[in-house]
Symmetry: C2
Subunit: 203 residues, 2 copies
């Protein structure tokens, strides 16, 4: 007969289990309160751990915890600066190739797809995604570009819209010939679109 | 006590009820067999009516029946030629304004959104949408443009991807500043993208 595991009173100690418990609780808190409404303190309380332990596991704070909770296939905190780093030349192509790379691999694609599915079917999930995309992605890209903030964000969002719509038609609806087109064929058409959005002076 | 309506043996006669029964059965047949697999004959059989009656109500055939079954807010058979009619000049702007117009009105937006939701959550719905979009929209647009068919379809799909992605971020995720941008601001940025896809010679 299996003996149920017992746990003494007081907070959970550190360990693999604890990290998992924090991530599981974070998923729930983000779903209930949205990205903006959730806090590390609240997640620590819900997971029954010391807030210092959350900081120990997730030094990058709320954003890193969200990436872990949603099993996102990349971390904007690392990838966005890497893509912006080489400057405006070729930025449209680097963004397009990076995005295609994430969607190419089913294991990296699935968490993305799950997020997209819940965002279109559930207003809470949409709000959660809105908060995260704005803070982790858009404000970071906008800060790295030399454009007036308001106009810049609109332009970045339209570029992201092109990529998200392309992924929808290519990987979800699987429309031909887009579904079978090579990445180079797609880059040849889509990269100039993004580049144009990001460099208004070139128009 | 309510007396149940009785119906004699044999097929349903014509009338409002019959049209509704055909539409309801069509919805089910499209969902089960996809757009390509469903047939007017099969829908007539399932709705227990003479196939001639289906043709009587839906002279435009399977496509018109699909538009009615999905409560689509526009008929590609009418709208696509109207948008293409004035020629290539300004085509990107006409497509963008038409699309924004459909999404602007919640009553016209909701059936679209329902279709998008089921396409991302359900492979059968995705297949259904794929068949309809290819036949009713893409082949019609591609036929109206003066481009090699294979390249043309890819370009049209990327234009549609831009519009679909924009609608996702603007109306579903409601990302700012895109969600509050005026239609003119969006047209100013998006119409040139579509125009570029549709007129490769201008690159």
């Amino acid at each position: 007969m299996a003996v149920p595991r017992t746990r003494g009173p007081g907070r959970r100690p550190g360990g693999e289990d604890t990290r998992g418990a924090i991530v599981a609780m974070a998923r729930q808190e983000f779903a209930e309160k949205g990205y903006d409404g959730a806090s590390l303190r609240g997640i620590a309380r819900a997971a029954d751990v010391d807030p210092a332990l959350v900081h120990h596991y997730f030094g990058g704070g709320k954003e890193e915890l969200f990436v872990a909770a949603m099993q996102l296939p990349f971390s904007p905190a690392e990838q966005v600066p890497a893509i912006l780093g080489p400057g405006i030349d070729g930025l449209g192509e680097r963004m397009t190739r990076f995005f295609l790379g994430v969607w190419r691999d089913p294991e990296r694609r699935d968490p993305f797809l799950a997020l997209l599915r819940s965002a279109v079917t559930n207003e809470q999930a949409a709000a959660m995604m809105r908060g995260f995309v704005t803070e982790a992605l858009l404000s970071r890209v906008a800060a790295g570009l030399d454009l007036p903030p308001a106009e810049c964000e609109l332009r970045v969002e339209l570029g992201v819209a092109q990529l998200v719509g392309m992924a929808m038609l290519r990987y979800v609806i699987r429309l031909e010939p887009l579904a079978s087109a090579s990445e180079d064929e797609i880059v040849a058409l889509v990269a100039p679109t993004l580049q144009r959005y990001l460099t208004p002076s070139a128009e």
